[in-house]
Amino acid sequence: MAIDEKKTSAAETLRKTRSFGKVRCHNPSCMGRIQPAPGADHAKCPTCGMEYRLFWVNPTLPRIRGPVWDVNREIAKKTFAGKGGAATLKAESKGGK
């Protein structure tokens, strides 16, 4: 059988490209790397200004829990208006009833 046991696959070599301790901005054209202070529960993207709440899976693995809603809503409103969207961004109650 022509199986080379030692040979590493592309997937295996890509392990080297993993970066720890950082998160990436969720704004599609930004996707800047944000390096939060260890254990921080908030981070602001230095490139595009989006603000996020953070969660730490383990001490080297932060993740974005969600946006800071009030900031997010302001940015969304402005962008929507700027893109010529309907002037009335349909207001939705803060969830629930």
């Binding site: 997937a11 969720h26 599609p28 899976v57 383990n58 829990r65 969207g85």
Partner: protein, 646 residues
């Protein structure tokens, strides 16, 4: 040997059982699992068969690697013609059933006919027995499983069961095993119910000899290290599949209120971190559990913290439940998500379809198309948690006009409701979508439009498209094993190169389903996970069969093509809104209104979408109408199907 597992043809009408070996030639063409299921369905069903008739074959299987010394070989696959879509019915679940079936001597079961009275199958070390299920009928999914164990006096029995929803022929009823492992999509539980088949119980202690045990053993360790070192799997192992919520709800990829919005604002109570806190409080710090031989352990455990079901133990919730009982009906309460999840698990009903159907009804109610007359007085507005949970029960037991109507699935319900109800139904091929909003992501939109079982994310979704990986990394992944020279884009809002990515993923997921391993062990959510290059080793060490990566790719193409042939035979047509490869008008006409700044204002461009579809067909070897070219069938060795050679 894994390869000496058998196939059984079971006729419930006359009780006849035929047990046959699976020839190596079939393994070389279809591997096993979903691929071989697709061959069996195409070959052993007649064109236009009524999905609820005795002639619709129900096929249950494990993959070629099931229960071998490979990682996460836990997946059970079930196939039949779908009573929900009238096209391919296909569903895949984790748990412990398929390995037990393999230790009991079988890889595939083909079940036809209809029993006179409720029955269940008991499969034990090469024997199959049809037993009376009179006492089991009416029981919930877990009650049924524990009752079977008690009746047969064996706690190690693993069963595949239906709940009340399957008995009541809800068109999107689950088949389930364990507490929450569900084959949810396309209504396979409904097919089981139509056959009066309440459960399939398996127990086995038959050897599966590993072809090259020492190598398989060490390679398995290397494979597992590769899996568990991925950040995505570490996150998943801590928070379960709900972890996806963080990113999707952040950038605006979450289908909210039946596709009106693409983000559920201020939903902190159903964020995965909050659900994790509840699990920690109610179960303890170690509340993650896993399927057979899997080190990702992505399944949560919890007890409902309050409300009418307080204290009930269940597993999950998955990302789909956050959508079904959160985003889609516009509810933001963790208790509602956890309760809804518990109800559908007990009833044996697809959470995803249930949530989508109710959200659709909610929009119809708010639009005045449904009134209190149809809802029997229920105030079915978005964000009404009690109404949501009440509807779950009404659908399962077909209570009231609306419960009975929704239980028939989207398209029949739209016809019954009338007016323009169909326009609001976010479906592809008659099946509702996961609560993901693909208006900003053309690759994902193409994936749901072309998925062989109707709108679905587990057939060809290039999820890593969302990670903005450097182009050279993308090219390394997507050029394996077939070199790809065309354009590629790291941008997930772009249309460049996406058809190839979708095509590649379609083959990747098919191969995984044929092997019987979990999609979290391949290029789905993580870019550094094993795929075509790694599989020849794991197959060879475990079974002794030799394949090259290219051969596995071709097998996947072949199996996907036979699924396509089945769908075409049953009426698939490219632009048919009900049976085609196209999307609800909202994808094209209503731009995203929320989420990250660069997502707002985006929708799918009809022209570009059609170009993507043309390109996708080209890769698959289909003509412009989506039908296979004769040369493609010849290349894949399918020109003589149906061949009925098993």
């Amino acid at each position: 040997m894994a390869l000496d597992r058998k196939i059984a043809f079971i006729d419930l009408t006359n009780g006849e059982i035929q047990i046959k070996p699976i020839p190596i030639s079939m393994r070389k063409k279809y591997l096993g699992g979903r691929g071989l299921d697709a061959y069996l369905l195409y070959n052993y069903s007649k064109k236009g068969v009524d999905p609820l008739s005795p002639d619709n074959p129900l096929i249950v299987s494990g993959g070629i690697l099931t229960a071998t010394c490979a990682s996460a070989t836990a997946r059970t696959h079930v196939m039949a013609k779908s009573p929900l879509t009238g096209l391919l019915g296909s569903t895949n679940m984790g748990g412990f059933f398929a390995p037990e079936l393999a230790w009991a001597g079988f890889h595939h079961l083909v079940i036809k006919g209809k029993a006179e009275k409720p029955v269940y199958l008991y499969i034990h070390n090469g024997n199959i027995e049809i037993r009376d299920a009179g006492k089991l009928w009416g029981k919930t999914t877990t009650e049924t499983q524990w009752a079977i164990r008690e009746e047969l006096g064996d706690d190690e029995i693993k069963s595949l069961v239906i709940g009340p929803a399957g008995e009541n022929l809800v068109r999107f009823a689950n088949v389930m095993t364990g507490i929450k492992n569900s084959g949810g999509r396309t209504g396979m539980g409904c097919v089981m119910g139509s056959k009066n088949l309440k459960a399939i119980a398996a127990r086995g202690t038959m050897d599966i000899r590993i072809a090259h045990a020492q190598e398989a053993f060490e390679y398995n360790k290397r494979f597992i290290d590769q899996i568990t070192s991925a950040k995505v799997n570490q996150t998943q192992g801590a928070l379960g599949t709900p972890f996806i919520w963080g990113a999707t709800n952040c950038w605006g990829g979450l289908r909210t209120r039946n596709f009106q919005f693409n983000q559920l604002e201020y939903a902190d109570d159903i964020e995965p971190e909050r659900l994790d806190e509840i699990a920690t409080e109610t179960v303890g710090p170690h509340h993650m559990t896993g399927c057979f031989a899997c080190q990702v352990h992505c399944r949560g455990q919890y007890r409902i913290p309050s409300g009418p079901y307080a204290g009930k133990y269940d597993e999950g919730p998955e990302y789909t439940s956050q959508g079904a009982f959160g985003a889609e009906p516009g509810c933001t309460s963790a208790v509602t998500v956890l309760t809804g999840n518990h109800l559908v698990n007990q009833f044996g009903m697809d959470n995803l379809e249930t949530g989508s159907m109710i959200a659709w009804a909610m929009e119809l109610y708010e639009a005045g198309i449904l009134t209190e007359k149809e809802t029997d007085g229920l105030d079915l507005r978005f964000g009404n948690d009690e109404a949501l949970l009440e509807m779950v029960e009404r659908i399962c037991y077909r209570k009231g006009w609306l419960g009975d109507t929704l239980a028939d699935g989207g398209i029949p319900a739209a016809e019954k409701i009338g007016k323009n109800a169909f326009d609001y139904l976010i479906q592809v091929k008659g099946m509702n979508n996961l609560h993901s909003d693909e208006r900003a992501t053309p690759a994902l939109a193409l994936n749901v439009a072309t998925s062989s079982r109707g709108s679905d994310h587990l057939r060809s979704r290039p999820a890593i498209d969302l990670y903005h990986l450097p182009e050279d990394v993308l090219r390394r992944i997507y050029s394996n094993p077939i070199p790809y020279k065309g354009p590629l884009s790291s941008e997930h809002t772009s249309y460049e190169g996406k058809p190839w990515m979708v095509y590649w993923q379609e083959n990747c997921y098919m191969a995984v389903d044929c092997l019987g391993i979990c999609k979290y062990h391949t290029t789905f959510l993580g870019a550094t996970l094993p795929n075509f290059e790694d599989w020849p080793k794991v197959i060879y060490y475990n079974t002794g069969l030799e394949f090259t990566s290219e051969e596995i790719w071709t097998i996947a193409e072949r199996c996907n093509m036979i699924e396509r042939m089945f769908n075409l035979r049953e009426g698939l047509a490219r632009n048919d809104l009900k049976k085609g490869d196209t999307l609800n008008h909202r994808y094209f006409d209503e731009p995203c209104r929320r989420g990250a700044p660069d997502v707002i204002g985006l929708s799918i461009d009809r022209g570009k979408f059609n170009k993507m579809l043309d390109e996708f067909y080209e890769y698959k070897g289909l003509d412009k109408n989506g039908k296979p070219k004769p040369a493609t069938l010849k290349r894949l060795g399918l020109e003589n199907e149906p061949s009925r050679s098993l």
